[in-house]
């Protein structure tokens, strides 16, 4: 069992409040990813859960039990640190055994747990080496191994892949995912990399400036971001935002005009907006395509073309000066300075009100 509940959790350092009342319910066996730009409080939040810091106010419960005053060691959690934090003067085996010895576990049990973890993570060959003699990927495995042998209620992972090179990061990501499938233990994972968040998470928690912006499955966040921040943060390259306004709100759709050039009927009726309201229209680069002849479109001038083979990334400037990014499937013979006509489907538009929130109903 590894259910973790946060209620109105706040944390201040001196007079500076870092977390402003976090409410979150993490189910047993869930893989939850905290994502957000640096300084958003995601690591601070993880440290509160770990017990390395004490929340200023609010409640933190593990399996329904209030643990605000329970020391880190007694919360039954295991943490993997960004720098791995392996004890440099101990061998890998001693690193794995340290926590178990402190828990006064019998020697035979310790040995069998280390053997099990070593088999699972394929670190058996270097159990007697020191961390300094291992490569980055090997250290990463040892750090995860140190958490696994503890058999914790939940794993806390603080940007565990950020020190690895790109290739290793992708393979470790897959291994972590497989590990979660096998262990079925609650995992809380902190990252600033939205791709890691998308690939690993059952649920993503997007944080900004100490507040939760949105909680949801990766696709919910991608398909229906709750506000401009989440819309811009999730998905790569990030979403284009263009000025627009609402022309009419009907029973089945919302008619909007983008840049005053293209008029589309978004097939979802807005609940809170009225005709004439200025809005921001978001459209993902992948949803933009070249307009066919006679099709309603937005005119733009190409500033840069990145031909990646399978797709072509086009940077273009629209008449009002906004930069627009389009990811076109396949290869296109475009060059900088060329005038192009871009369009998109009404169903793919995201409408945000003046307050940055998604317009309800759309």
């Amino acid at each position: 069992m590894g259910r973790i509940t946060l209620e109105k959790l706040t944390k201040s350092y001196g007079s500076v409040e870092i977390l402003h009342g976090i409410d979150l319910d993490i189910q047993d066996g869930e893989f939850v990813v905290f994502v957000g730009p640096s300084g958003c409080g995601k690591s601070t939040l993880l440290r509160q859960i770990a017990g390395l810091d004490k929340p200023t106010s609010g409640e933190l419960k593990i399996n329904g039990k209030l643990v605000n005053d329970v020391p880190a060691a007694d919360r039954g959690l295991a943490m993997v640190f960004q720098s791995y934090a392996l004890y440099p003067h101990m061998s890998v085996r001693q690193n794995l055994a340290f926590g178990l010895e402190n828990a006064r576990m019998p020697k035979a049990e310790i040995d069998s747990r280390i053997a099990e973890a070593a088999r699972m993570l394929e670190i058996g060959d270097y159990l007697d080496r020191r961390p300094g003699q291992l490569s980055g990927g090997q250290r990463q495995r040892v750090a995860i191994g140190r958490a696994i042998v503890r058999n914790p209620t939940a794993f806390l992972l603080d940007e565990p892949l950020s020190n690895l090179d790109a290739e290793l990061r992708i393979s470790m990501r897959a291994e972590l995912s497989a590990l979660h499938q096998r262990l079925k233990t609650t995992m809380i994972y902190v990252t600033h990399d939205q791709i890691e968040a998308m690939t690993l998470a059952n649920r993503i928690v997007v944080l900004r400036k100490g507040n939760i912006e949105q909680v949801g499955t990766p696709l919910e966040l991608y398909n229906r971001p709750a506000n401009r921040f989440v819309a811009g943060f999730i998905g790569a390259p990030s979403m284009n935002f263009l000025p627009g306004s609402i022309l009419a709100v009907n029973l089945v759709d919302t008619v909007v005009t983008v840049l005053g050039e293209e008029t589309l009927a978004v097939p979802r009726p807005a609940e809170t907006a009225e005709a004439g309201e200025k809005i921001t229209v978001g459209v993902r680069p992948q949803h933009i395509r070249l307009a066919g002849p006679g099709e309603d479109c937005i005119g733009a001038k190409v500033t840069l073309v990145e031909a990646l083979g399978a797709e072509t990334v086009v940077h273009a400037r629209v008449s009002t000066g906004e930069l627009l990014l389009a990811v076109l499937a396949g290869q296109h013979a475009l060059s900088a300075g060329e005038d192009i006509r871009l369009t998109f489907d009404a169903k793919d538009l995201h409408l945000f009100g003046g307050d940055g929130l998604r317009i309800a109903g759309t």
């Binding site: 880190a72 640190f81 004890y87 300094g132």
Partner: protein
């Protein structure tokens, strides 16, 4: 060998001497003489007889005047190279000397006495090591007891210094509490208080505690050193906090964090402090002299003081015993210095 020669004769100016080559050699040789010269002088002089020590001009090597056993004399006589009035030279023994005239005899023919002006003769000298400077103190002087006292004081004081100072440094570097910086400031501030100022109050404390004439009276006042606390604290600041967080997650108690994580990782700094502490305690003179007045409790440095009387200083014994007291410090340094450079604290992190 050829490599060494070409290395030593390498010059900045190619074939010609550049002024920096000259400066470098002058600097290196001068430094060698200044640093190593006194040590060489000490070791060589410790083998000199009292007469050779007071000879003028002083010599580097321990020379002694050769002596010869002559029939009819109880003691051996000193041998001289004499220039005889006829211009020839001969080796003769001195029988007696009156003013500037010495009565010389030929060791093979002791009956015939030749009177020679002392300007016309030169002592026959040879290098000889007066090992009695070393052996006699061991017999007369209670060397082994003093050595034991010194070793006890040094070892105990160093162990306690390391433990106490590292605990203070751990708290000051890894815990956040109110007044932490003030405490550090006060500790470092005590560096500015010289021993002379606190000698009298320290003496009354030791005396009240009944530690007068007790080796613990020498050990205890010296164990908490601001230098040590500061040195260790600065080093411990470089140990990443994540390691300590990891240990906390691993159910380690604060004592275990200190003992099993922080202390092993501070080994290089501890080695430095251990060397300092050994040298300080071993060479300490003033404070042991104040506390210890019974000769059975003397440390070596205080014990050596008995050779420096008010009227007569037995330099040959002092020098010899100084060499003996230097040996342990040198050995400790040779043994521990390789730990200093070994920085292991960061090797487990990226």
């Amino acid at each position: 060998m050829a490599g060494v020669v070409s290395f030593l004769t390498r010059r900045r100016g190619g074939d010609r001497w550049h002024w920096t080559d000259v400066a470098t050699w002058v600097w290196l040789i001068g430094g060698l003489l200044i640093i190593f010269g006194p040590a060489v002088w000490l070791v060589l002089s410790s083998f000199k007889t009292p007469a050779a020590l007071s000879a003028f001009p002083p010599s580097i090597l321990p020379y002694v005047t050769q002596e010869v056993q002559v029939e009819g004399f109880d003691k051996p006589l000193p041998l001289y190279e004499v220039t005889l009035p006829d211009g020839t030279t001969a080796q003769m023994a001195e029988k007696r000397r009156v003013g500037v005239i010495a009565q010389m005899i030929d060791p093979k023919n002791p009956g015939e006495v030749v009177k020679v002006n002392i300007k016309d003769r030169k002592p026959v000298e040879m290098v000889e090591f007066a090992t009695s400077n070393y052996t006699e103190p061991f017999l007369q002087f209670d060397f082994l007891r003093y050595l034991w006292n010194s070793v006890f004081v040094t070892v105990m004081a160093t162990i306690i210094t390391l433990i106490v100072n590292s605990m203070a440094a751990f708290a000051l570097s890894k815990y956040k509490f109110k007044g932490r910086d003030l405490i550090l400031l006060v500790i470092v501030g005590t560096l500015m208080v010289p021993l002379g100022v606190i000698t009298v109050p320290l003496y009354s404390i030791i005396s009240t505690l009944g530690l007068f004439n007790n080796l613990w009276g020498v050990i205890l006042p010296t164990v908490a050193t601001p230098t040590g606390v500061f040195l260790l604290r600065q080093y411990m600041l470089t140990i990443p906090d994540e390691l300590i967080d990891a240990a906390r997650m691993d159910k380690a108690s604060e004592w275990q964090i200190y003992w099993r994580i922080v202390l092993p990782l501070s080994a290089p700094a501890l080695a430095v402090l251990a060397i300092f502490s050994v040298v300080w305690r071993w060479n300490d003179f003033l404070w042991p002299l104040i506390v210890l007045s019974r000769s059975t409790a003397y440390t070596l440095q205080v014990g050596l003081n008995v050779y420096a009387g008010q009227l007569n200083v037995q330099w040959h014994y002092i020098l010899a015993m100084t060499v003996v007291t230097m040996i342990p410090v040198v050995l400790v340094f040779v043994f521990l210095q390789r730990f200093i450079t070994r920085g292991i604290a960061t090797s487990g992190l990226k």
